[in-house]
């Protein structure tokens, strides 16, 4: 589409050169990654093709702005006779061999040969200069009665997004060409803003009722969400208001810690007291044992003292008895001595001496 640069245009245009290897590398996860070999991309497009065909069966499909033809290949796998056109020579040339023949390098503004059951145009027109995009729409509407269309209303920072519009604008342009959104088909699996359009002749009443059927539930949903949002907002305000709430919680945690420490301390004190009591009880027990033992010993000693006192008394009696006997003996002795003296004075000495010895012997 190199000639487009020379044609008079109102706005910015992009050319094939803008969509070389570097574009794919930086925008689609690396040059190698965006290919049929990549399992994740393959699965993504395979699912997309199957879902589109499930909503709207088609035997012939054209993908406008097909890039490396991944969607085309996915349609073929799903049983459709699919072709693709893209302005990027790099993209078409680096496509998978199985699909290479089904792809053509060319501009979307060029007339489309033949007719198709379905034309897909996904994330393409926002890259084209405004009037050329309208030309491309013209061509697509001429070649089919059904279009799957997606064009991002976002990503304004992307340098090649030179023609970004709200979906409502695109729908208006399609309506100018007799194509209307199928409000029964949700293409959210492609992009949040993807739509399926069909050529039809609708009365204003039919258009209104179609859109109202969608708008009504959406309004209801919005209302419910607003209410939920309000409630959440109020809850946040409330929590923020007793702003100390978190502070109070921290304080309580501190308090719990303090109580735990106190409980530990109390249990420790209890343990000490328990030991003290056990010790005192043991001491009392031991002392009671001592008392019993000493009591027994005391009784023995007392009994012995009594016995000794008895003995002492008996001995005393014996002593006084002996003393009186001694007195008696002394008296007798004195008497005998006197008698001896009498005899000594009277009889022979030798006889007296013999008598005296005999008498004194036992008296001693």
């Amino acid at each position: 589409m190199s000639e487009s640069s020379s044609s008079p245009t109102a706005g910015l245009t992009t050319s094939s050169e803008d969509y070389g290897g570097a574009y794919y590398a930086s925008h689609l996860g690396g040059a190698d990654a965006y290919s049929w070999e990549s399992e994740s991309w393959r699965e993504f497009f395979t699912r997309m093709a199957r879902r589109i065909l499930a909503i709207s069966p088609a035997s012939s499909v054209l993908d406008v702005g097909c890039a490396k033809g991944l969607l085309v290949q996915a349609f073929v796998e799903a049983g459709a006779d699919a072709h693709g056109v893209d302005i990027s020579q790099h993209a078409v040339e680096s496509s998978h061999p199985d699909v290479r023949d089904r792809l053509r390098v060319g501009s979307a503004t060029e007339p489309i040969e033949g007719r198709y059951d379905l034309i897909t145009c996904i994330e393409v027109l926002e890259h084209m200069e405004s009037s050329q995009a309208l030309d491309a729409m013209d061509e697509m509407c001429r070649a089919t009665d059904r279009i799957v269309f997606s064009s991002s209303p976002l990503d304004l920072a992307e340098p090649t997004h030179i023609n970004v519009h709200e979906t409502a604008q695109w729908m208006a342009w399609f309506a100018d060409r007799g194509f209307y959104r199928r409000t029964d088909a949700d293409l959210g699996f492609i992009t949040p803003w993807a739509v399926m359009l069909e050529r039809s002749t609708l009365t204003a009443r039919e258009v209104v009722s179609r859109y109202e059927a969608v708008v009504g539930p959406l309004i209801g949903e919005t209302l419910a969400k607003r209410e939920a949002l309000l409630a959440a907002h109020r809850e946040i305000s409330r929590l923020e208001e007793d702003g100390g709430a978190t502070a109070a919680l921290t304080e309580q945690v501190e308090l719990v810690k303090k109580f735990e420490a106190e409980v530990l301390e109390a249990r420790h004190a209890q343990l000490l007291q328990r030991d003290h009591i056990v010790g005192i009880e043991a001491e009392i027990g031991r002392q009671n044992d001592d008392i019993l033992r000493l009591h027994g010993a005391l009784r023995k000693v007392t009994a012995r003292a009594e016995r000794l006192a008895e003995r002492k008394k008996a001995q005393g009696k014996r002593i006084s008895g002996l003393q009186s006997r001694l007195t008696t003996a002394r008296d007798r002795n004195a008497r005998l001595e006197r008698r001896v003296a009498e005899l000594e004075g009277a009889g022979s000495r030798s006889l007296a001496a013999r008598v005296a010895r005999r008498l004194r012997g036992p008296a001693r």
Partner: protein, 556 residues
Amino acid sequence: MTSPLFSIVTPVYDPPLRIFEETFASVLEQEHQDWEWVLVDDHSPTDDVRAFIRAHAATDPRVRLIERADNGHIVKASNDGVAAAQGEFLVFLDHDDLLVPTALKAMARHIALHDDTDYLYSDEDKADEDGTLHSPFRKPRWSPERLRGQMYTSHLSVMRTSLVREVGSFREGYDGSQDHDLALRVSERARRVVHVPQVLYHWRAIAGSAAADIDAKPYATIAGQRAVQDQLDRLGIAGRVEQGREPGRYVIQRDLDPDVRVSVIIPTLGGSALVFGERRVLVEETVRSLLAKTDHDNVEVVVVHDEPTPSSVLEVLRDIAGDKLVLEPYDKPFNFSEKCNVGALRATGDRLVFLNDDVEVISDRWLENLVGPLDEPDVGLTGAKLYFSDGSIQHAGHGYWGKHYHHPFRFRTRDDAGPFGELAVNREVTGVTAACAAIRRDVFIGIGGFSEALPSNFNDVDFCYKVTHHGYRTVWVANCELFHFESQTRDSAVQPWERHLVVRRWGIPDKDLYTPAAIASPMVDPHRLLDQQINQPARSRPTRGTASRANRTAKD
């Protein structure tokens, strides 16, 4: 008091008549008169003994002879005797052993003390063929755990006849250990088991009899192992019985319910020492080995660390123990008791294990074996077997006697089984060291933990007294072995007031009821002897007195 009728039961099988006559005489000489003697001849091959008994039976109606028609061996013969007995108590006498003349009198005196006495056993010694008496076995007071380790009650055993019959008398298939099996079964049901601390029985050491050499009857030890295992199974004690270090000694490998949470409490300062030629942070190896040597996973390690403990040590402990580690800082002056108490209060386990930081676990399943016995409700405290770094014994239970607190069997070698198996089997003791001790939480709280009035010495002695005072048994576990690198961490000087405090509570230790002093001695510290040899003048030799002073007290 009516004196009970004793039925002496003696299975007889071909004893030498000369020996048997002495046995016979020892019964006839009994001072206590109320006895009958049921002699069961187990079909002896010669008629001499039967004729001898018949002759006596003809003149003394108390002597009864039962003649078996066939040889039924010890179990059948003994059961015949039990069946025929008419007395209130059974007295088991072997056909070649001797009763002392006061044997039945002493038993009758102890029976009279309590109505519920079902089983009595006395001390015993051995008699050579020439009548020389030796090896008196001074037994401990009733020790159910010890009975699992060995048939220590043995002779003289007196059992209530009705109870023996209730448990089914002797069991077939336990020949050689049938007496051990019966003692286990009777003691399980006995309301009271009494130790009579007098030698009432002389066991003849005749070649081939168990008294001379239990090796002569290896089948007996296999039967004994089964008898003990049976008891564990009957009582629901999870464990496995193994043969011990000596024949007739049994070791129990206990299992621990995985749901039982165990808290190991280690007070530490994070100190280092030279151990086996390596400088190591003691507590690190303690924690490492304690976790490595057990299969029990439900464990927390509560390390009560003083302020000076280096943070690098705590980091290493975190690496070793991971989320099992609980760190409890301690910033007061050193008080071993308080550190233990703080750790215990912080701990979440049902079982508390106190461990010094200067130990290293040696034996596998140490924790299972140490904590397992606490499943029995009347066991309050357990302790371990500790060695010095040279492998000699540092701790094998406490003994409190003769005014002092002792470490019986100290300095004996690791492979020494003890005079009567004391070092080879689990046994009840008066106390254990807190260097490694396990206690149930409820018991710990109930006794008031460690007395903080005793900051460094004797706190474990007081602790053990308290456990006993509250009616619990203390079990020393022979197969829970650790090194204890003692005295590497603190000074052991004992102050007089420390001893006074313990004595004020518990009195002056006199006799130990589980470890008689005579059995435990000597406990001479070779290092101190060496010290004396070096420091004393050459002419004076160490006397008995200095040697006994060398016995270190229980808490150093």
